[in-house]
């Protein structure tokens, strides 16, 4: 969700999200896992998806762009607030 928010609605799709996670966390992530996660988030209403334009580097195939929904943004905010509240004052 956070990767999708950072990449923005024009660039957030499975390949870029997987690359962003790998770059920022230093940990590679299987794209199949990204597909499954995005599908579940969409089923829960946290994300919406739409087909983008065809691009030559993709062999003329479109991308499925993902956009966080309001519910998704609220869920991220709640989760972040929870983590901050739980970690406040804790030396990590």
């Amino acid at each position: 969700m956070v990767a999708a928010m950072r990449l923005g609605e024009d660039d957030a799709h499975a390949v870029s999200i997987a690359a962003d996670i790998a770059e920022r966390t230093g940990r590679s992530v299987r794209r199949a896992s990204v597909y499954m996660t995005l599908q579940r988030l969409e089923e829960k209403g946290f994300l919406s998806t739409a087909l983008g334009e065809s691009r030559p580097e993709r062999g003329g195939k479109p991308r499925r762009l993902v956009t966080p929904t309001r519910a998704g943004l609220a869920a991220v905010r709640t989760t972040m607030a929870g983590i901050l509240a739980m970690t406040r004052g804790v030396k990590i």
Binding site: V15, R31, A32, Y35, L51, E57, R58, G59, P62
Partner: protein, 893 residues
Amino acid sequence: MSAPRWATSLIRRLATHDPAEADVLVGDLEEAHQARVDRHNPVMAIALTTLEALDIAFMLVRRRLRARAPRVPSFSWLDVKVGLRMLVRYPVLTLVGTGSLALAIALGASAFAFITLMLWPRLPLPDGDRIVVVGFHDDVSNQPESRVVADFVRWRDGTGTLTDFAAGRSQGRNLTMGDGLIEPVVVAEVTPSAFPMTRVSPIVGRVLNDADAAVAAPPVMLLGEHLWRERFDAASGIVGRNLMLGDIPTTVIGIMPEGYRFPSNYEIWQPLKLDAMAAPRTGAPIRMFARLRPGVTSAQANAELAVLSGEAAVDWPATHAHLKAALGPVASSLVRDPAERMALASLNGAACLLVLLVSGNVALLMFARAATRESEIVVRAALGASRARLIAQFVAEALVLNALAAAVGLWLAQRTIEWGVMTFARVAMDGELLPFWVTPSLPPISIAYGVGLALLATTTTGVLPAMKMTRGVSSRLRQTSAGGGGLKFGGVWTLLIVGQIALTVYTPSMVFVLRRDMRLEANERIGVPAEQILTARLGIGNGMTRAQFEAAIDRVRDDMAAAPGTAGVTIADKLPLMWNGYYRVLVDDGGAAPPNPDHGNAYPINTAAVDAGFFSAFDAPPLAGRLLTSADYIGVPHTVVVNQSFVDRVLGGRNPIGRRIRYVRAGNDGQRPPDATVQPWLEIVGVVRDLAMVSPTSPNGGGVYLPLHLDGLGGAGALNSVMIAARVSGEMIIATNVLRSITGNADETLRLSDVQPLSRVRANGVQTLSYIARLFSILSGSALVLALSGIYAVMSFAVSRRTREIGIRVALGSRPSRLVFTILWRPLMQMAMGIAVGGALTFLWADDLGLSAAFLAVTAGYLLVMIFVCLLACIAPARRAMRVDPIAALRND
């Protein structure tokens, strides 16, 4: 440089359900591959892309499997609305389906309620499960002990696990009712603590208190609501009035609420005046009750009682060394034999099977209805409805139907349980009040059971047709028109229809037999007007000695014989038209009929023990020999009188006088015949006409009359009750009152019950047979309706499935008769098979029961009616088939 072609092909092949999704996945693979080519060498890029493609392919396979896995269907209000609309749109199915399921659910729920009441009764009192009986048992004599007044006094203030101790016993009394009649009643003498223990308050007046239980206290009593309403017209001023209980004026102090008959079936309560100084194991026999303290289990209370028993044994070693106390339930089951309990409990399985059978039938109808909506299903699938969603809709429709059936069925079950309990009370308990925990209402657990049966039926009527209808829906979607997917009724449906028709053919024979038995029972005559003979049972009362009982019986007989309008009085252990037991005898020189090896070469007969006035009371002079005289009543019986059936069936018409018989098996009721091992043969001294000794529906070989001995002389035990019969010439009600009065005067503790004209003796049996016959009629009718609707469903289905074929045949010039035969072939075969099986069963059974030619003729006529009705069910679909327009039928092609 592109990603490997086989990798993109693999992904495309696995993502066929969504071409756009396949494009996205392949595009992602290409994009990632390009990035790898830029970052690594081409070989490494191909290797990594290959691994990734395999990973994505695996993910797609998992997704597919997840999509195919059955899901719990979710319902919406729209599904329910569609279900309601379907009920209105298909009224015949609604009527037949709801009616059949309601009947099955009613039978299942009421059977469950009845079985629960009989096997696992519960006290209908506040926290009734916590009330227990404290029973005592002597380990040495292996006998229960009820002389426990000293133990009650010792424990009545409570123990560590038990509280609210109470004691009680029953006493027979005669009560002068509101209409002036004196009737025998059983009084519960209880300690005043019984009322706080049961936590029930009176509706009028007050309960007993300690002052009432004082030795010198004036006599008081509480009445039950039923007795107050039925015999005192619910008189408001009854509290404070004195009623004659026996010969003692007793003040009514209160009325207990309806349904309260603690500890069993009592309607009058008096204080139990205990002797607090009674020595151990002396005094009046009592039952001890208590309530478990909160949080205490029966096991803990039993453990404490074991310790307390041990302490009592130390304190009273002479009487309590082997006496052990233990808890027991107040509400005990009326059915105690383990085999009978098992048999009764297994009826639940039969009820479930019935529901499954009926719901299978309704599923057949639902399937036929669904078949007519195949196009709708295919279109919905085309619009994106998943299989689970389609199934959910079918289940919702079935749920609506079954909910309606459950509501009707539970209402019917309530009526059935009321009838069942009342019939049981009348037939099994001779009209006596049942224990108060046997209530004629459907308990919550039975309602839950009925709802469970409805859900079971929903599974069958909803899921099965839905699974069958939605199987291969996508392949049907690809075809040019709906209906080419090969839907058809399988062998199971055929078997179901054949079984139903067979059952429909078979059940009327049972109804016929029951009705014939009913007529025989109702019409049996004894040679004198049975409605002019007053009968009653006289029983030994509490505290009566044998001498008092016999003296009271003699006095009642003499006083009744001397009463005006009485032509003859007799005392016997069994009367004509009653069940006269099942006995077996040997004949000294053998009988005429071939002896039955199953009976040990003996002859089955009936037996009654009668006094010397029996035959004159029933106007039965000797046909041969003589009647029993006073000399025959001296000492051990050695003579008998037989009836004409005995002469005809056992002796083959030979002269019976002087022949001898010996009992080898005795019945359980009444006076036992002389024991064959120690007694001589019994000589036949006379013959009388048949006096309806046993039900005409199960005739034994004949009847034998023994001299009556109240003390059981020559038999195994003394009689505790006998029947009295009096021929009266006036009004029966006057004679009834005379008998009640005479009984009360003879001995106030003598118990009088079952007072009725002899013509009423068989009424209960006849009424029960009538109920059973009616039940079979309903079942038979239901089976017929279901079978016909099944045939109709098959026909409608066949016509709707073969519309195109019919159109082509008509277009090609097929003859109408040929066409009709082609369509009717399958249901006709099912009908023929069902009738053949049912007919064969009926005729085989007819032979066993010796049914008459008239019955067989009636059955043959019924079979013809069945065939006609089945053909009737075929007419509408056949006419529809004949009207198929070839052009319209072929338009889809």
